[in-house]
Structures are given as structure tokens and as C-alpha cells.
């Protein structure tokens, strides 16, 4: 469903993303790992059409994001890093706005989508609260609700469990797992247990390049008995 081919993004003298290629199929939960600054977020921003790649392409359902970004954006749900939202709006108003932009214009359709998203992410107790008054965990869930609202086939989640407490983390993970059956999911994280917990594929990038693309099991098999963070450290040793 997602196909990335030779993506390149350069900031000044630095190549943030240097020829990244991979595929994600329906039913996959791809864990996107790498040290901070390795190019995870930049790659995601190019897939979602926020940044224009300097070279290479990303296609979603066969649509090239550099050719028809709006069509790709219609198919995607995206949770940007740190879940930005309009602070002065209430949860309900904010999700209502997203629903309208996503094409649910009639009052009933809009309400149905908003209620569904609020139900899935357990936001009912704060639905009438303004976003600026919410705790980080709730804010993160608002971002998640916004990404799920139109039930997209492809989800791109930039650090979806960042800032959540262990219970909330578990909840978000089981939610992602439950939904992934008929979706393609990319999630970035630097929590290594997360990979074992939910992902069925792992990509590790270091200095803008893919250094590993395999299942969690074969990642473990690289160094039997070693902890995941040791393997991670070896693979990303050049990126300090």
C-alpha cells in the first residue's frame, strides 16, 4: 500500500534522508527506528506530502505523493510528532473541523465520525474541554483521534506513544494492533520494547540510510541472546 523509492532530502550541507526505500503492505505494522535526527520524521513528512522530496518518490495505493498530494492526503491518517492541535478549540470542535475538511459535511455524518473517533481513543470525559487544558496523554490521544477520524487505509504515526503513561501506552498499542488488520501502519518510536510488542516489521535508519529491514525475530537472531538495544547500538554506531 505504501511504496517508498529512493527518497532524498537535503538540508543545507546535511543529507537528512539519503535514498530510503521500503514497502508496507496491508496488515503490516512497520516500526520505524533510529536515533534522534536519523531522518525518521523527515521521511514520514515526505510520505504524507508535508515536505517535497529532493529526489525519489513515495506512493500510497499507487498514487504518487509528488504528483497528486491531495489525493494521497485523503487516504492517509497522520499523527505528527507531538500531536499539534488548535489549543483554543474544544476536543469536539477540533475533531468536527477535521471531519469537515475530510468531507463529512452533514451534521449527522460529522457527528458519527467524531463520536466514533472519540470512542476509539477514550476521549469522552474531555470532549467539551479546550485542548490547551488537557494533559499530554490526552493531547496525544486527540492527535490520534484526528488521524483515525476518516478510517484511513494507511496510518502514519510519528511517536504515537510519546508522553503516555504505561497504561495508556498499552491501550494505544492494542488499538493500533486491532486496527492494523486491514490497514498499513508506519509508526516511529525509540522505545525498543514497542517493536516486540506490536510490530511485525522493523526498519532501522541511521544517518538517513536504511541499515536494517526485517522482522523483529530476525533482528533478534542477529545476535542471539543479546538485548534489542545492543543490536540497535551496533547498527547505528556510525550515528552518534
Amino acid at each position: 500500500m505504501i511504496e517508498v523509492k529512493g527518497l532524498v532530502k537535503t538540508y543545507g550541507p546535511k543529507r537528512a534522508v539519503d535514498g530510503v526505500s521500503f514497502r508496507v503492505n496491508r496488515g503490516d505494522i512497520l516500526g520505524f527506528l533510529g536515533p534522534n535526527g536519523a531522518g525518521k520524521s523527515t521521511t514520514m513528512k515526505m510520505i504524507t506530502g508535508f515536505l517535497r522530496p529532493d529526489a525519489g518518490t513515495a506512493t500510497v495505493d499507487g498514487i504518487d505523493v509528488t504528483v497528486d498530494p491531495v489525493a494521497v492526503k485523503r487516504k492517509l491518517g497522520y499523527l505528527p510528532e507531538s500531536a499539534p492541535a488548535y489549543p483554543e478549540m474544544t476536543v469536539e470542535e477540533f475533531l468536527g473541523f477535521i471531519a469537515e475538511v475530510r468531507g463529512f459535511r452533514s451534521t449527522d455524518a460529522k457527528r458519527a465520525q467524531v463520536d466514533r473517533a472519540i470512542g476509539l481513543t477514550h476521549l469522552t470525559p474531555v470532549r467539551k474541554q479546550t485542548i490547551e487544558t488537557l494533559s499530554k496523554g490526552f493531547k496525544q490521544r486527540v492527535g490520534f483521534a484526528q488521524a483515525l477520524l476518516h478510517d484511513p487505509g494507511v496510518l502514519v504515526l510519528d511517536e504515537p506513544t510519546d508522553g503516555l503513561d504505561p497504561n495508556q501506552k498499552n491501550e494505544v498499542r492494542s488499538l493500533i494492533k486491532a486496527m492494523a488488520v486491514e490497514k498499513a501502519v508506519i509508526l516511529s518510536t525509540h522505545i525498543l520494547e514497542e517493536v516486540d510488542a506490536i510490530c511485525n516489521r522493523v526498519i532501522i535508519i541511521s544517518q538517513g540510510k536504511v541499515v536494517a529491514d526485517e522482522t523483529p525475530a530476525s533482528l533478534h537472531a542477529r545476535k542471539p541472546g543479546a538485548r534489542l538495544d545492543e543490536i540497535f547500538r551496533t547498527l547505528t554506531a556510525s550515528d552518534v
Binding site: K73, P84, Y86, E88, M89
Partner: protein, 240 residues
Amino acid sequence: MTQISPVFKREFLGYFRSPVAYVFLVVFSVASIGLAFFVGGFFKANQATMQGYFTFYPWLFLFLIPAAGMRLWSEEKRTGTVELLFTLPITTLEAVLGKFLAAWAFLTLAILLSLPLAGTVAYLGSPDWGVIASTYLGGILMAGAYLGVCSLTSALTKNQVISFVISVVACLALLFLGWSVFSEVLGSIFPVWLVDLLSNFSFITHFDAFTKGIIDPKDVVFFLSLIGFTLFLNVVALER
């Protein structure tokens, strides 16, 4: 283009979700009417016109419209919501138009809040309604032109203070070109045709005709093309 309306709605209501709208409307009304009463000699002139009120508009707009417009894009950039907005299925043009039109509608509301003043004039005398109507039209068009400049400068930076200062300077330049005092200075240096040409780019030159009851297509075209040009640059600045 149907995507403009949710953006417009969110932006317009956004003013009223924070104290911005109330503070702005009160300050605008107090300042504009205060200038008319105490400096413009609104009653002292003993004439049934709005001249004493509208004559300060170009100067008042110089500070108040950058204050309303500085946050348009810089706020989105600072809070990161720009990433959310541009990963929704919206083109840059639709987003720019939606936000601009919302801010323009808000400024129009601020201007129309002075209508009771027109009622007072009508109660005390018999004003020429045609002149009053054309002046309101001119004021609203001029507000749009100021706002176009501010929206553009706001897209260039995530810092609202920088956005405000650049807006004021840019508007000041467009204002000064037609200010009689400044024109005389220019006239002593440059040939008359050049001074005339420069003053054609000024807000004052084009607004003056409206205050005399003349709706000249070339003045309307001036304001509309300035809006179009600044919004075009606005799109370019955001897509860069």
C-alpha cells in the same frame, strides 16, 4: 475550492474562542471613534458626514491590521499546526484563501460596528448615504489590501513580533507614497511623473476617491489586485 469553507469557519470562530476578538473589536471601536471625536472634530465640523471618522482609517489600519494579521501564519508555524493543516486534503491556495477571507470578514465586522455612528449622523442631519456607503466599501477594500500584506509577512516567519514589525513597515511604505507631506518631499527631488506614478501605489490615493463618493473601477482594481498579488506570494512563500 469547497475546502475553503471549513478553514474559513474554523479561523473566523477562532477569533471568538480567544480574547483576541473582543480586545480587538473594543480597541478598534474606541480608537477609531475617539480619533473622530477628539482629533477629527466629528461634531465640531457641524456637517452631516462621516468624513471626520474615516479620514483616520489609513493610519489606524497601519497598526491595527498588522496586529490582527500577524498571527495568521506565524502562529500555525510556531504551534506546529501548519503540519496538521497541510497534511489534510487541502491545497495551499485553499488554506490561504480560507484564512485570509476569515480575517477579512472579521475586519469587516470591526468596521461595520461603527454603523451606529452613521445612525447618529442621520439623526442629527441628512447625510448623503451614497458617500457613506462608498466610503464603507473603500474602507473594507483597503482593509483587505492591508491584510494581504500582513498575511504575506506572517507566512515568512514563525515569530509574531517580527511579523508585526515587517507588516507595519511594508504598510507604512505603501501609505507614505501617497501622503501629501511625503509627496512634496519626493517632488523636490524627482520629476512630477515619477512622484505621480509612485503615489499610484499608495493606499491613501485610492481610498480618497471612495471618501468623496466616487467608486472608480481603477481604485477597486488596485485594491483587489494588491490582494491577489500578496496572496499569490503568500502561497509561494508557504510552498517554498
